[in-house]
Symmetry: C2
Subunit: 441 residues, 2 copies
C-alpha cells in the first residue's frame, strides 16, 4: 500500500511587524511579514506531513492562500512514491495547468503559490527520507538532479548535458565540503542595523552590537532621499571601519539614470554591492547600470520571478551577485536551475533572506550550492536577519556569524502550532483589536 | 456636491468555450474564456457606473476577482472629479500599494486586477464625458496625455519631453485621421480559421468563408507538432493564395533553438510574422530568434506584463510587431506609454484580441494610436475573432474586414445583464450540470 497526500490546506499567517518598522525600506515602508502556509497531510504510516510557505509582506497574502487552494487539486491524492521518483514531472504539473498559467505565467501570485506547494512537497520528501533538504539533494546523483529542472526555456544558456558535467566535476571533494560545513557553517551577513525606518542612534547601537557578535558584512537600505542616504552611509561606515563590507539596497526605487548617479555619489563609502537599483524586470537597465558604476557591483534577485529572468540577467552581464528568493522561485526545482546557470556564468549566489521563514529556507540552498554546485565560498555571504525565528520548530542556528547546517529532517519551515494559531489572520490573538495598534497603509 | 464611487463589486464571469475547442492552441488546449468583471457604482446624478474587466481562460479567474476585492479599498469612496483630473495619480495608487506590490510587482494576478479596475475607471470617465474612450483621449492635449504615464522606469528609453513632442507633431492631421476612421474603419485580421483544435475540413471551410467576407490577413496556430504545422500551413496557404498575409502563432511552446529551427521550416509558407515563439519573459531569446529568422518578423506581447518589459523588447530589437494586451497591461495609462515607446522605436502596434471583450477594448487603442500617436496604418492590423460579441451592449462593428470606431460613451465593455447573470461562475445557468458537458483539465 502506497501513501498518498490526503489533504492540502492553506493558512493565512501574518505577523504585525509594521508596528516597529522592522523591515522598512524605500519601497516597503510598513510591511507585515506574512506566510501563505501550506500543510500536505498524508496517510503515511509514520504520520509525515509536508509544511511549506511563500513569503509576503501583508495584504496580498490572502491571494497567495487562494491561489494555493486553486492549485491544490493538482497535488491532492498524489502517491508519495511516484512524486518523489519524478519531482520534475510534479513541478511541470503544478506550474503548467493551462488555465491557471494564463494568470502568470510563472510569475506573481500563482508562482508564489506554486512555490509554497512545492516547498511543502520537498519538506515532505526530506522528512520521508529522514534527511534535511540540503542533504537529500546533495546525496542525489548528477543525473537525478538534472531531471528536477524544466529545461524548456533554458537550453540556450545551459544544456542539461552541461549541467550534469558541472555536477559530475563537483563530486570530487563533496564529502570534505559537507564535513567543512558541519564544522564551520556557512558565512552570513546581517541587515538588522540598516532598516530605513530606524533612527541614527538605533543604527549605531545595532551596528555596535553586530560587530560585537562577530559580523563582518553589513547591509543598509538607501533610496528614500540621497542626502539622507549619504549621511547614513557615512555613519555606518564610521561604525564598521574601512575593512568590513558595506552593502546597499535601493529596493527598486530608481530609474536607470538616477541609479547610476546615486550609486556614483554613494561610492564614496565603498559599497561592496548596490542591490535592486531599479525595476526587477529591467534586465537591460541593470546591465546599463552595471557597466556605468563598475567597480561597484550590482546585485538583484529577490523579486526576480523565474529562471528565464535569471538566465537573461546572467547572459546580459547585468549582475555580479545573484540573490534568488526561496519563495518567489517555485521551489528547489527552479532554484537548482538558477544555481547551475550561476555557476556556468561565474556569478556567486547570495540568496535573499529575512522576512519570516526565508533564513530557514536559504540555509539549505546556500549549503547545497557550496557542497554540490559551486564548491566555492568566494564572494558568497548569506543574508541573515534576527526576526521571528522563535516561531519555528527547527530555527536557524547561527554561530560566530555563520549558519550551521540544519540537521532535522525536512526543510526547517514547520511552525509551532501555537504560532500558527496566534498569527492566523484576521482572527488570531495577534490581530485582535486590543493588540492591533495603528495600521499604516 | 461632487459625485463619488460608492461601491466596487467584482464578478466571476465564465463562458464554457472549451466544449467546442474555440481558442485552442499549443499552450492552451481547452480555454474557458472568462472575465473578472468590475462595476464601479457612483452617486453621479446621471447614474453612471464604470464597467471593466480583465480576461482569463478559466481557472484563475477567481484569483483575479479576489485581487480586485483586495485592491478595491484604493478606489472606494474616490471623488470622480479628482480622479479624472489626475488619472496618473490614481494609477500609481492602484499599482503601488506597498504590501500588494510584493505579490507582483506589476505582474500576474495583481496587475490583471489593476487592469480591470482601471479599465472600469476609464469607462466611467468616458461615460461622464459622453465620449467613447478613444475620443476622450484623442481630445486631450499632449501635456495631459503625458501626465497619465508613470515614467519612473521608462526615461532611459523615452523621456516625457520626447513623448510630448511626438504627440505635438501628431496634432497635425488629427482631424482628418478621425474623419478617415469614422468613414473607413481600422484594418483587421482574423484568427477564426486557424485554431489548433479544428479539423482540416473545418479550417478550409472557415478560410473560404473569411475570404468571402473580405479578409486579407489570416492567422494560424502552430507548435503542437512540426509535421502537422507544415501540413496545416500548406493547406491554409493554398486556400488563401500567395497574396493574402499568413501569420503564425506558436503560443510560447518552443525554446530558442527550436523556435529558430521550426520557423526556418515554416518559412516555406511565407509567414508575415511568427508570434510568441518562446517564453514571454525571454527578451534576449526573442532578440536572438529575430536575428536568426529574418526576414520573418517576430511578434509578441499578449503575455508581456508591463511597460518595462515592452521597453526592453524595443531596446533589444526583439520584435517587429507589438501585440500589447488591453487586460494584461494595467489599462490605458500603461498602454499609452507602450504606444509612445513603440512610435519612438518604429515598431507597429497590432494589439492582441479575441477571447471575450478584448476586441471591444482594442478597437479604442488601435484607433487612438492611429489618430494621436503613430499616424500610420502601415503594417498595422488589428486582431479580430468572431466570438462572444453578443454579450455586450455595444459590440464591435466590423465592415469589410475593418473595425468601425465605437460611438457610444465609454469603453464598450458593458455586458448585458442577462449575460452576466447566466455566466456567473459557478452558479449561473450556463454552468449548471445539465449544461456543463465534459470538463477538460
Amino acid at each position: 500500500m502506497t501513501a498518498r497526500i490526503t489533504q492540502v490546506t492553506a493558512r493565512d499567517i501574518r505577523f504585525p511587524t509594521s508596528r516597529q518598522l522592522d523591515g522598512s525600506d524605500a519601497m516597503n515602508p510598513a510591511p507585515d511579514y506574512s506566510a501563505a502556509y501550506v500543510i500536505l497531510e498524508t496517510d503515511h504510516p509514520e504520520g509525515h506531513a509536508g509544511h511549506g510557505m511563500t513569503f509576503t509582506i501583508g495584504r496580498g497574502n490572502e491571494l497567495c492562500v487562494a491561489a494555493i487552494e486553486s492549485l491544490a487539486p493538482l497535488l491532492d491524492g498524489q502517491e508519495l512514491d511516484a512524486a518523489f521518483a519524478d519531482m520534475g514531472a510534479i513541478w511541470r504539473r503544478v506550474t503548467g495547468d493551462s488555465q491557471l498559467r494564463w494568470v502568470g505565467p510563472e510569475k506573481g501570485v500563482v508562482h508564489l503559490a506554486a512555490a509554497a506547494l512545492m516547498n511543502a512537497l520537498w519538506d515532505l520528501y526530506a522528512k520521508a527520507e529522514g534527511k534535511p533538504v540540503w542533504r537529500l539533494l546533495a546525496d542525489m546523483t548528477p543525473e537525478q538532479v538534472v531531471t528536477l529542472v524544466d529545461w524548456r526555456y533554458l537550453r540556450d544558456a545551459l544544456t542539461p548535458e552541461d549541467a550534469e558535467a558541472i555536477l559530475e566535476r563537483r563530486l570530487q571533494g563533496k564529502t570534505e565540503r559537507i564535513a567543512e560545513m558541519e564544522r564551520d557553517g556557512y558565512p552570513a551577513y546581517t541587515t538588522s542595523a540598516g532598516w530605513l525606518g530606524y533612527s541614527d542612534d538605533k543604527m549605531r547601537e545595532l551596528a555596535r552590537a553586530a560587530i560585537a557578535q562577530g559580523w563582518s558584512h553589513f547591509k543598509m537600505k538607501v533610496g528614500a532621499d540621497i542626502e539622507d542616504d549619504l549621511r547614513r552611509a557615512a555613519l555606518l561606515r564610521e561604525e564598521i571601519g574601512p575593512d568590513r563590507k558595506l552593502m546597499m539596497d535601493a529596493n527598486q526605487v530608481w530609474g536607470v539614470a538616477e541609479a547610476i548617479a546615486n550609486t556614483a555619489h554613494l561610492a564614496t563609502y565603498d559599497p561592496w554591492w548596490m542591490e535592486e537599483p531599479t525595476s526587477p524586470d529591467d534586465i537591460l537597465g541593470h546591465a546599463a547600470i552595471a557597466r556605468a558604476v563598475a567597480p561597484v557591483a550590482i546585485a538583484t534577485g529577490e523579486h526576480c520571478h523565474n529562471a528565464v529572468m535569471f538566465k537573461q540577467l546572467f547572459q546580459a552581464g547585468a549582475i555580479r551577485f545573484c540573490q534568488l528568493d526561496s519563495c518567489r522561485l517555485a521551489s528547489l526545482n527552479e532554484i537548482i536551475a538558477v544555481l547551475l546557470m550561476a555557476e556556468k556564468f561565474r556569478v556567486p549566489v547570495c540568496p535573499h533572506a529575512g522576512g519570516v521563514g526565508l533564513c530557514e529556507y536559504v540555509q539549505h540552498i546556500a549549503i547545497l550550492d557550496y557542497v554540490a554546485v559551486s564548491a566555492s565560498l568566494k564572494n558568497r555571504v548569506l543574508e541573515y536577519v534576527d526576526h521571528l525565528h522563535e516561531h519555528f520548530l527547527d530555527p536557524v542556528v547561527i554561530k560566530d556569524g555563520r549558519y550551521m547546517p540544519p540537521t532535522a529532517p525536512g526543510y526547517s519551515i514547520t511552525m509551532k502550532p501555537k504560532s500558527l494559531h496566534q498569527h492566523a489572520y484576521p482572527n488570531g490573538s495577534a490581530w485582535r483589536p486590543a493588540n492591533r495598534g495603528v495600521q499604516v497603509r
